[in-house]
């Protein structure tokens, strides 16, 4: 090959990698985001900043399989003004829409803490739809971790053995009118099915939690549509405002239509477990 052709190839290569670096530094210009903006929000204007929802992520994903993420509402939920939906988007993951959370005024605060998988250097976005119809976005850039950190789980056999175990816990002593912190833990491999068998060229079937719904009596506290960008053993921390006594109930359905439930009585014991596939 002539050196001129080689130079041209190298120049092209350097030019394209320079372009992609520039895009990495410009959250708005990311083509994946531009596509999602059109697809999810019809290109509607979204204000950028953390006045409505703040996003907490590490700057580097220490463990690619378990990266803690928090989306924090900057005001309490009231009937007059509340966050209706929160999207968690990881631009450069195989499936960028990690989760869509739905809240109501009974949620108290539209806060969510969870853990995600981060495949590579990527923008992470929290987008809030407020009850007045406005959209607001906070964005962080997360660096991928080193070469031996993988988004896959730690122990595939153990993950399957405990499939569907759940823990539902209310942390704060429930007091009427005050938002109490809840944690929902779901034992589930949350497999992407993206790992290809090199010999058969088949993909393992995906097996991941698809939906989560938490109710307090008749009131919806939080519901979510999630996928395999959420870490193995999906874990959600959120709030609700206890009204009367009664039960807090969580229902989880995975993509193979296995359903798991857990509940916790709000008057005495505050740790609930017990669930079985139905």
């Amino acid at each position: 090959m002539s050196s001129r052709v080689l130079s041209a190839v190298l120049a092209l290569w350097l030019a394209t990698s320079a372009v992609s670096r520039a895009q990495d530094n410009d959250a708005a210009a990311n083509p994946i985001w531009q596509r999602l903006h059109a697809q999810l929000f019809g290109g509607a204007p979204i204000s950028v900043g953390d006045s409505v929802v703040a996003l907490e992520t590490p700057t580097r994903a220490e463990d690619a399989a378990i990266v803690p993420v928090a989306m924090r509402a900057q005001f309490a939920q009231t009937k007059e003004r509340y966050i209706d939906k929160l999207w968690l988007i990881i631009d450069d993951n195989p499936s960028p829409i990690a989760a869509v959370f739905q809240f109501t005024p009974s949620s108290g605060r539209a806060d969510i803490e969870t853990r995600v998988r981060i495949e590579q250097y990527t923008h992470v976005r929290a987008i809030a739809l407020v009850s007045d119809g406005t959209l607001h976005m906070a964005t962080n850039y997360v660096k991928a971790s080193g070469g031996c950190s993988a988004p896959a789980g730690k122990d595939a056999v153990a993950a399957r053995a405990h499939l569907g175990d759940m823990r539902l816990r209310v942390y704060d002593a429930p007091a009427a009118g005050r938002a109490a912190l809840v944690q929902l833990m779901i034992s589930h491999p949350n497999d992407s099915g993206l790992a290809m068998d090199q010999l058969t060229r088949n993909y393992a079937p995906p097996h991941f939690v698809r939906s989560v719904e938490v109710r307090h009596g008749a009131n919806l506290v939080m519901s979510a549509t999630v996928d395999f960008s959420i870490s193995e053993n999906p874990n959600f921390r959120f709030y609700f405002v206890p009204g009367d006594a009664g039960e807090l109930e969580a229902k989880v359905v995975d993509n193979q239509n296995l359903a798991f439930t857990a509940s916790v009585k709000l008057d005495s014991p505050r740790v609930g477990a017990v669930s079985a596939p139905r």
Binding site: M1, L6, I66, E113, M196
Partner: protein, 338 residues
């Protein structure tokens, strides 16, 4: 096309997902073939600049027939070509067993050249102590020897689940230096204990329950009393938990009762056995206690990652890269105990 490039071609052929193209489509696309040739030329050119990697690949010979290469205590970089894990080989009357192959094809090649300087006997076994990239990506350098590739019963599945991500990261972090590195699956799975015969010498291979990873092997050379620990033992380099903290601690308790003339850790040099594993045990025991305390106090994960410390007096290497990751893994494991 040079040798590295030919190997790269083979490697990339195995991982078409990296290219977003199926083998059929790129094989039939002249433009792509041309581009590939151009890319190969670029690699040849860049490797002419970076010269022969690993010019002084050192091998030590601590006992008759036992050869050890100590990798650098570092993360993988283009400068060290992924030569960061301890590797080696054992020579029997009939053939040679390789124990781990390094973080790139280049390291595997250097190891193979080192074997050829010592013996002309064939390489009959390539044993991978676990799935991590710094121990497996040199496997491709032994493909021509057609050895039995030996791994834990879980290794094949772990490579499927993690391998594509490891290759992406390797290419991202090492660029052209990673050329030729490929995923080579085990052809022989070890589920518990086995002996591998090298002719007048046998190796005891043991598969462990989930500890450092969910597929750790140790290798014991009975003739010399040499125990290859893989990453069940770190010396100097901060231990890494990528399987189960509790499992790691129980493996250490058991390992401490094993008698060996010498041990080869996965990283660092062991002076005396079992004293060499004591700092790792101390670190992991404290990690267990501190993460349990954080959980008992209701500390959320993100705050535990920043708050749980370690004993700075131990002067661990690479603690800034791995300690927070260990806290994360420990927290995710132990929170179910609460």
């Amino acid at each position: 096309m040079n040798e590295a490039c030919a190997a790269a071609f083979a490697a990339w052929g195995l991982t078409p997902a990296l290219w977003g193209l199926t083998p059929a489509s790129w094989g039939q696309t002249p433009v792509f073939t041309w581009l590939f040739a151009a890319a190969c030329a670029a690699i040849t050119w860049s490797c002419a600049v970076c010269a022969e990697p690993l010019p002084d690949f050192q091998i030590e010979n601590p006992a008759p027939g036992v050869y050890v290469h100590y990798g650098e205590q570092a993360e993988m970089t283009p400068a060290n070509a992924g030569d960061i894990a301890n590797l080696g080989f054992v020579v029997g009357d009939r053939c040679v067993a390789v124990i781990d192959t390094g973080g790139t094809y280049a390291v595997g090649r250097a190891l193979r050249l080192a074997i050829r300087r010592v013996t002309s006997k064939p390489v009959c076994y390539v044993i991978n102590t676990h799935v991590h990239p710094d121990h497996v990506f040199g496997n491709a350098a032994f493909a021509d020897d057609a050895p039995v590739f030996v791994g834990h019963a879980t290794l094949a599945q772990s490579l499927r689940r993690r391998g594509p991500n490891y290759l992406n990261a390797l290419t991202r972090d090492l660029g052209a230096v990673a050329a030729g590195s490929a995923l080579v699956s085990p052809t022989h799975a070890v589920a518990s204990d086995e002996r591998l015969d090298l002719g007048g010498r046998s190796l005891g291979v043991r598969a462990w329950k989930t500890a450092h990873t969910d597929g750790d092997l140790t290798v014991f050379d009975e003739s010399s009393g040499t125990l290859w620990l893989g990453d069940l033992c770190f010396v100097g380099h901060l231990p890494v938990v990528d399987g189960s903290l509790r499992g790691f601690l129980s493996a250490i308790r058991e390992l401490r009762t094993v008698t060996a003339q010498r041990v080869v850790p996965g990283h660092g040099r062991a002076a005396a056995w079992p004293a060499a594993i004591a700092p790792q045990a101390r670190y992991l025991e404290r990690l267990l206690a501190d993460v349990r305390a954080a959980l008992a106090a209701g500390t959320p994960l993100a705050q535990a990652i920043d708050g749980v410390g370690y004993d700075a007096a131990e002067r661990w290497l690479l603690a800034d890269r791995f300690h927070k990751r260990n806290v994360t893994a420990a927290y995710a494991e132990l929170e179910w105990d609460e």
